[in-house]
Every structure is written in C-alpha cells, then in structure tokens.
C-alpha cells in the first residue's frame, strides 16, 4: 500500500539528481537531457571565475551563520529564563505567544518587517523620531549594510520561541533533587542556572548545533527573496536565487544546474562531515 507514496517521494526527491547531467552539457530545452551536447566542466570553470557567484556564496554562508549563532544562543537563554518561571499558567501563556511567528508564513513575516521599518510612518521610524534620535526617516530596507542584520533579526523573531521547545523538554527532565541539593548547599538562583541547568542542556545543544551546521546551506531562500530588493541585491542574493535568476531570466539552465549542484554537493559534504563529528562526540548520529 505504501509503494505509490514511496514512488512519489522517489520521483520528487531523487529524480532531480538525474538533472545534474545538465551541468556538464550545453542544455537546451528542445534537445532535452538525452540530446544536449556534453561540454565537460566548462560550466564549472565559468562558475569559479564568476565574481557574482562568490558574492552569492558569501551571502549564503554569512546569513546562515548569523542566524545559526543568534538562534542558538538566544534559544538557550530564553529556555533558561522560561524554566525559572514559577507560575505554570504564565509560562504557558508566554510560550503560546512566542510560538505564533513560527506558524506564520515568511510572506507575512516579511510584510510585517517591511512595515515596521517603513520610512513612511513605520512604527520604528515614528518611535525614533518621537525620541528625537533622528530627524529624517531612515530607509532601513534599502541599506545594504543592514540587510544581514535585519534578516537575522527577522528569522530570530520567527523561530526563537519554537526552538526553545526541545531545550525546555530537556530542562523538565532534570532531576529536581539536584536543585534541592544545591539549595541545601546554599546555591543561589544564578549558581543553579549556571551549574545545573546549563550543563544539562549542553549535550542536546551540542548535537543541535552540529546538526544545524550540517543544514547550513539548506536553509532555503524564501526569506531573502521576500525581504530583499534591488537596492540590497549585492547582500541579499543567495545561491538559489542566483541560480533561479540566471536560469529563468537568461534561459541558461546548465549554469543554474551547476550552481544548484555545487550547493548540493557542499551540503552533502557538510552533513557527512558533521555526522562523523557527532559520532566522535558520542552523541546519536544523523544518518
């Protein structure tokens, strides 16, 4: 009974790998993969000499890296704070609220971000003007240098609450006797957080961090596509968007496939490398 479903998975997840052949061809739609002439590594030679490719590569790694670090640190911090709340009703309410953005689409999130930062009566500009910090409204979304930061903060706002779920589950599993023993020894609140809560999070945190590094290149391009605009292109364009742009607007599919393939291969190497490290660290493994 499951066979047709597995077949669908196979078609949409594995069949595209066949398309990698195109990276070694001068692909044209009428000829198809089987008919297009092979040209060897020409596309890759061009790729590695293309400055816009390096720019996209830099943007991809920079934004993934920033989101990864910010998300990791803040999630642990928030989990520790939530864990200290005594009233379970209050804790649940806060949890429910901070989970909202996770369930909302990137379209909505970027809509909100662009609105909040809008120079035309946007709340942040109004606030800054009200405090007389600025005279003229700032065009946040068209400042190249700000894009990575805005992107990271938007992602943080969306996923921070959600990413505490696992940490909170771990904290809930900590043996209460450890805290009681610490109380008897006269440990204060911060001492207990630092010596008991944080260390008990570390194994899970290490594993999640390692996994996240493996997934670094696979984080998608929705957010960059929606938040970016022509002013900040040099900082917002990631590999997928470059590939898409190149293939669709110029019609050079082979070059787009070469970019996609490069990304996939680096991604696989990252996952495998990370899997080995995770095994070394003695945690469970990915594959």
């Amino acid at each position: 009974m499951s066979v047709p479903f597995i077949a669908v998975l196979f078609v949409f997840h594995y069949l595209p790998l066949w398309g990698w052949l195109m990276a070694f061809q001068k692909y044209s739609i009428p000829l198809g993969i089987l008919g297009s002439p092979f040209i060897g590594f020409g596309q890759f030679a061009e790729l590695f000499g293309d400055s816009r490719f390096y720019q996209a590569l830099r943007n991809t790694f920079a934004m993934s890296g920033m989101s990864l670090i910010a998300g990791f640190v803040c999630a642990i911090g928030l989990a520790l704070l939530l864990n200290e709340v005594r009233s379970s009703l209050y804790k649940r309410t806060i949890q429910t609220i901070v989970y909202i953005p996770h369930f909302v689409s990137w379209v909505v999130i970027s809509n909100i971000v662009i609105y909040l930062l809008s120079p035309d009566h946007g709340p942040l500009n109004e606030l800054l003007a009200g405090l007389e910090v600025i005279g003229e409204p700032i065009y946040f979304m068209s400042k190249e240098k700000w894009f990575w930061v805005i992107h990271t903060l938007a992602g943080l706002w969306k996923e921070l609450g959600w990413s505490t779920i696992i940490y909170l589950a771990v904290l809930a599993g900590v043996n209460p006797e450890m805290y009681e023993a610490a109380d008897v020894d006269g440990a204060g609140r911060f001492a207990k957080m630092r010596r008991i809560s944080l260390p008990s999070l570390l194994p899970t945190a290490t594993l999640l961090l390692i996994l996240a590094v493996g997934q670094m290149l696979s984080t998608g391009y929705e957010s960059q596509m929606l938040l970016g605009n022509s002013f900040v292109m040099d900082y917002s364009q990631v590999l997928d968007l470059y590939a898409l742009d190149y293939s669709l607007s110029i019609g050079d599919y082979s070059y787009g496939v070469a970019i996609s393939m490069f990304k996939s291969v680096v991604s696989i190497v990252l996952v495998l490398g990370v899997n080995t490290i995770a095994k070394r660290v003695g945690q469970s493994h990915v594959l």
């Binding site: 009974m1 479903f5 195109m22 689409s105 379209v107 809509n111 899970t204 997928d240």
Partner: protein, 296 residues
Amino acid sequence: MRVQWTWGGAAFQIANCALLALLGAGTLYPFLNLLAISLNDSMDTVRGGIYLLPREFTLDNYKLIFQNQRLFSATGLSVARTLLGTTAALIATTMVAYALSRREFMLRKLLNTVLVISMYVNGGLIPYYILIKQLGLTNTFLVYLLPGLLGAFNVLIMRSFFDELPPGLIESAKLDGANEFTTLFRVVLPVSLPVLATITLFLSVGHWNAWLDNYLFNTDESLTLLQYELMKILMQSTDQIGAGAGNNVDAEMMRMTTPQSIRATMTIIVTIPILFVYPFMQNYFIKGMTLGAVKG
C-alpha cells in the same frame, strides 16, 4: 520542597517575568497593530497614529477584499489546497510510517534509508524546476498536492510514536484475526491521536503558508493562492525583484483604499486561521517535536 523566600529571589522572579512579558508584547504588537489598521478607515490610517485600537472603525477593507474576484477565488483555492493536501499527505504519512514500524516488514531498513537520505540530499532548485516542467505539472492544481505528498520528517515523527506503542497491542489484534488494515484503523490509530494531531497541524500550516510552488510553477492567474496574492502586493509596494509582480490589485480597489490597508487586512486574513488552530494543539505538538528529536 518549597524554595526559601528571599528578597533576591523575588526580585529575580519579577524581573524575569517582566522581561518575558516584554518579549511576548514584542511578538504580539505587530499583529495587533495590523489588526487595528485593517479595522480602521483607510483614509484615516494615512494620517498615522494607529496603535492598538482602530480610530474610525469599519469593515470596508475586508468587504473590498472579498468583493475582489481574484482574491475571493484565491481564498477558496487556499482552503481547498489545505484540506485536500493535508488529507492526502496524512494518509500517505500514516501508511508509510505504519509499514516502517512493523518489524517483520522486509524492506524496512532499505526504505528507512531512502527516507532519511531524502532529507539531506536533493538535486537542487533548478533540476527540480525542470523536472516539474517536464512532468507537465506547471499550471495545474496538482503541483500543490503531489510533490509534498510524503515528507520524511513527518514519517519519522509518526514512526517513532508507533514504535513506542506496546507490541502486545498489535499482536493481540492479529490473534483476534484482524488484518493489517483493521489493525491500523481500529487498533493503532485510535490510540495515536496525539501524533495524528501534530502531523495534521504541521501539514495544514505548511499547505496554508505555501506560496513558492505557486510563484515558480503556476503563473496561470486562475490558480493563485492567498499567500501569493499577498506576496504580489508586498513586492509591488517595495520595488522587489520577482517577475509578474506588477498589475495585480485592481486599480479601482486602490482608489477606494490604500496599499497599506490592503496589506494589513490580507496579513490578518492569512494569519487568523492559524491563530485559531495551533494554541489548542500545543500539548500535542510539543510532545511530537520532542519525540522526534529524541528518536530522530
């Protein structure tokens, strides 16, 4: 054991709760603000100064959107996609997860590997794009349902749940002469409501929020979804990249209201269904998420 009361402890509790309240407020405020704008007269909104409450209450913005033919049909299609896509994917996920949880299933190991690898290896965006084109799925409703029919992540979560069920449960059903289908539907699924709820939530939110497949494959206007229409309005107003972003909301509509009010109203329309569903599922999805994480 009660922790001893101290001034420092009390101060910490207050500061901590205040900090978390600030975070909660920071999360909620944009939504409440947009809700107020969507319920406010659009010409009045232009003057600024709308925060948590509308100044000149009106439902005109909502009326305008649902009177617009395209937006109305997009709402219908989004609902249809969510219902059909969730149902189909739930059936697929359940079937495969159940098969994988049965120890006597011969291909278990192999299928498990095929599934897990699919989470990490993919051909990349452009080969996928060309595949969809060659399969003739462009400008069809099917492109919304078929590619995402079986997601490895969901299967793994559900399989971990089935693995946890007492083995005696299935054995005794078998002894009573139940076949695989009866066992699954009469014995296993009734005790698996938490994980079914979790997966249903994930699937339906995913379908409701999806717009990329619409953007990439369905340029046909009769097949657009609500999220995509919102995205077009967004792109139009901020000079975004993206083809086909022009000429979407009718000029007539723009005369009667403003882009700002339209954006706010559409944001609320696409957000509200989610707000009504997920809080009631909180216990379930927390369990589902942590189970998946431990077992992975």
